[in-house]
């Protein structure tokens, strides 16, 4: 009896799962179709490359954010952390030019500084949240203010610019690539694939989800709760470092206004992608789709000039809500 009844259920799950899973995918496809209809250059190699490459920063960060949110946390500091890391990286590189000269060692040193600063910032957030046990929202809200103001202070209110020659040398890291695929896109893809693997196939991913679903149960199941939680913030910090490594060669500068609102964009991408804000369930590929949806909205608004540009924000807001409605409808149908 159990056998025969089990069969239809399994198929129905297989049938209905796509509906809910497809929510964000459908929204993305709808946007692509809309874009293609509005402008013939939309699907051109150049435009596609532009959109993907500039999605990379938020995208790389959002992958890390997926783990934090899946583990029941949140990080509001990533945008200003990115600005701070970029500032520190630029200052370090400028300071190292006399010693290292301009070349690969300098760039590697800069990258090292960025990754270490990210690591340290992530550890600090993680420490305050996991060990001192302060609300993640407050810790990272505070950190957001701190990094933002430290960056302005480092830049003396202005802009920190990478030395011109160093910049010229470093520039290809954003603009070039291999086989016609720009580096930021490659790095984003790699981060996304590794993230997806980590989320679905490794104990770390499982532990994040169990932590977000019910911390007590995780603790009673010998999951090192503090360490996993800390791990999510450290991972995010390092990924902010990676994003910064791709960001600095683009314009070669950082200021107090770098990365403003990236945190909200990253969180929105994560949620649009189907990860639960309250934790316990996350999917990295969904986040990637969420990031692309957000980038495409901007791109299409620029390409289309439909209405007053003042109303761009309205359209964005409505589309974001609609994308999530689509996803939820899929879910409730199931």
């Amino acid at each position: 009896m159990t056998d025969t009844t089990a069969a239809p259920q399994a198929t129905s799950r297989r049938r209905s799962l796509p509906l809910h899973v497809l929510g964000p995918v459908l929204a993305l496809i709808a946007l692509i179709v809309l874009g293609a209809m509005l402008n013939s250059n939309f699907l051109s190699y150049a435009n596609v490359t532009n959109v993907l490459a500039r999605s990379a920063f938020i995208g790389i960060i959002a992958v890390g954010m997926t783990f934090v949110i899946t583990g029941g946390g949140i990080d509001l500091s990533v945008g200003s952390m990115a600005a701070f890391i970029a500032g520190v990286m630029i200052m370090a590189m400028n300071a190292l030019i006399p010693t290292l000269g301009i070349g690969v060692p300098l760039v590697l040193a800069g990258m090292g500084v960025a990754l270490l600063t990210g690591l340290a910032a992530g550890m600090l957030n993680g420490f305050l949240i996991a060990k001192v046990r302060i609300e993640a929202f407050i810790v990272t809200l505070g950190a957001m203010g701190v990094y933002r103001s430290l960056t302005t202070w480092l830049a003396d209110g202005g802009t920190l610019s990478l030395d011109f020659d160093a910049r010229t040398f470093y520039r290809p890291v954003y603009y070039d690539g291999i086989l016609g695929i720009a580096w930021p896109i490659i790095v984003f893809a790699l981060v996304a694939i590794l993230g997806e693997l980590a989320m679905r196939k490794t104990p770390f991913g499982r532990h994040c989800a169990s932590l977000g679903a019910n911390e007590q149960v995780a603790k009673y199941s010998a999951v090192k709760v503090d360490r996993v939680r800390m791990g999510t913030y450290v991972l995010l910090g390092v990924l902010v470092g990676v994003a910064t490594i791709m960001y600095v060669p683009r314009l070669g500068s950082a200021s107090g206004s770098t990365g403003v609102l990236w945190e909200l964009e990253a969180i929105a991408a994560v949620i649009i992608g189907g990860t639960l804000l309250k934790g316990g369930f996350g999917r990295v590929w969904g986040t990637v789709i969420g990031v692309l949806i957000l980038s495409l909205i901007d791109n299409i608004l620029n390409l289309a000039s439909i209405v007053s540009p003042y109303l761009n924000g309205t359209i964005q807001g409505v589309i974001v809500i609609l994308a999530v409605v689509l996803q939820r409808q899929g879910k409730s149908a199931e």
Binding site: N47, G157, G158, T159, L251, S257, N302, P309
Partner: protein
């Protein structure tokens, strides 16, 4: 001791290049003046929105007992009432850059010329381009100030037959300007020039243009004379034919004049409008301040 006098300085915070420069000049002139005039005390407050700026001014009056206020209103309308009540308490008021919406409140008015800023740029476009040429415009953060500049620009190119293909907000931000310019380049085959209205945005736009490999096709006019841009002009960058001044140092002028008014009997009231000038490769050197963060 008794005649120690306090000057309050309220300015917007350094959220983009120009304001960064303004902050720099404010701090630099305060340091300079504190050394020159030991009897002067300064309170500097930077605000991220109009409400906070009003808070700052209230605090200066209530707790620091300021004798003079130098204010660059975050926005004109909301600051008018509060500044007026400062004035009514007998405190000297210097208004910088953005006028209040009621005339005659301030003792001293030092300002750049926003319509001039747009007009000078527009005139250059009108002179240099010919009928049927296409341009795109990157606007700042939606504000009255941005509206004034853009309106003056449009008035100046009127009748020249120049085609404004598109205007979008780059929010005085490099990254936003980069994204918008990338999309303009995808959208329009033929662009002859870009008015970026601010050097931060010009930097983003230049980068997007050179990425697309269309350096030869168009030039860019920014504004406010950021040092990197001026340097490139001095080196004769063909993509940067001219720039328009909008000096962040006007705050220093205002603070210095105010200080002078307090410590000496010389009357310094009145209106000082620092007109927007055109910078070209020839005179660029005069506008190059390598020590400024802007």
């Amino acid at each position: 001791q008794e005649d120690t006098m306090t000057i309050g300085v309220a300015i917007p915070s350094a959220t983009h290049g120009f304001m960064g420069g303004l902050n720099y000049h404010a701090q630099a002139s305060i340091e300079r003046l504190e050394e020159t005039y030991p009897q002067l005390d300064f309170v500097l407050a930077t605000a991220g929105d109009a409400g906070t700026m009003v808070n700052d001014i209230e605090d200066m009056v209530a707790t620091r007992g300021i004798d003079a206020l130098v204010v660059l209103p975050f926005e004109s309308e909301p600051l008018t009432g509060p500044v007026q009540s400062v004035k009514e308490q007998g405190i000297w008021v210097t208004v910088v850059d953005r006028g209040l919406s009621v005339e005659g409140i301030e003792d001293l008015y030092v300002a750049g010329d926003n319509p001039g800023f747009g007009r000078v740029a527009g005139e250059y476009f009108a002179e240099t381009l010919s009928e049927g040429d296409n341009i795109v415009v990157l606007r700042g953060i939606p504000t009255t100030l941005d509206n004034e500049r853009v309106e003056a620009f449009q008035a100046a190119i009127e009748g020249s037959g120049i085609n404004v293909l598109d205007m979008q907000h780059g929010n005085w931000n490099r990254d936003d300007a980069f994204n918008v310019m990338q999309d303009f380049l995808s959208k329009y085959e033929d662009i002859d020039a870009v008015w970026a209205a601010d050097d931060d945005m010009a930097i983003g736009a230049l980068e997007a243009i050179s990425q697309a490999g269309r350096n030869e096709e168009m030039w860019v006019v920014g504004g406010a004379g950021m040092k990197q841009i001026i340097k490139r002009m001095m080196e004769g960058d063909p993509m940067l034919p001219v720039n328009v001044t909008y000096p962040p140092a006007q705050i220093a002028t205002a603070i210095e004049l105010t200080a002078l008014g307090l410590v000496s009997p010389t009357p310094v009231s009145g209106r000082f409008i620092i007109g927007s000038q055109i910078i070209t490769q020839e005179n660029a050197e005069q506008f190059y301040f390598p020590d400024s963060p802007f």
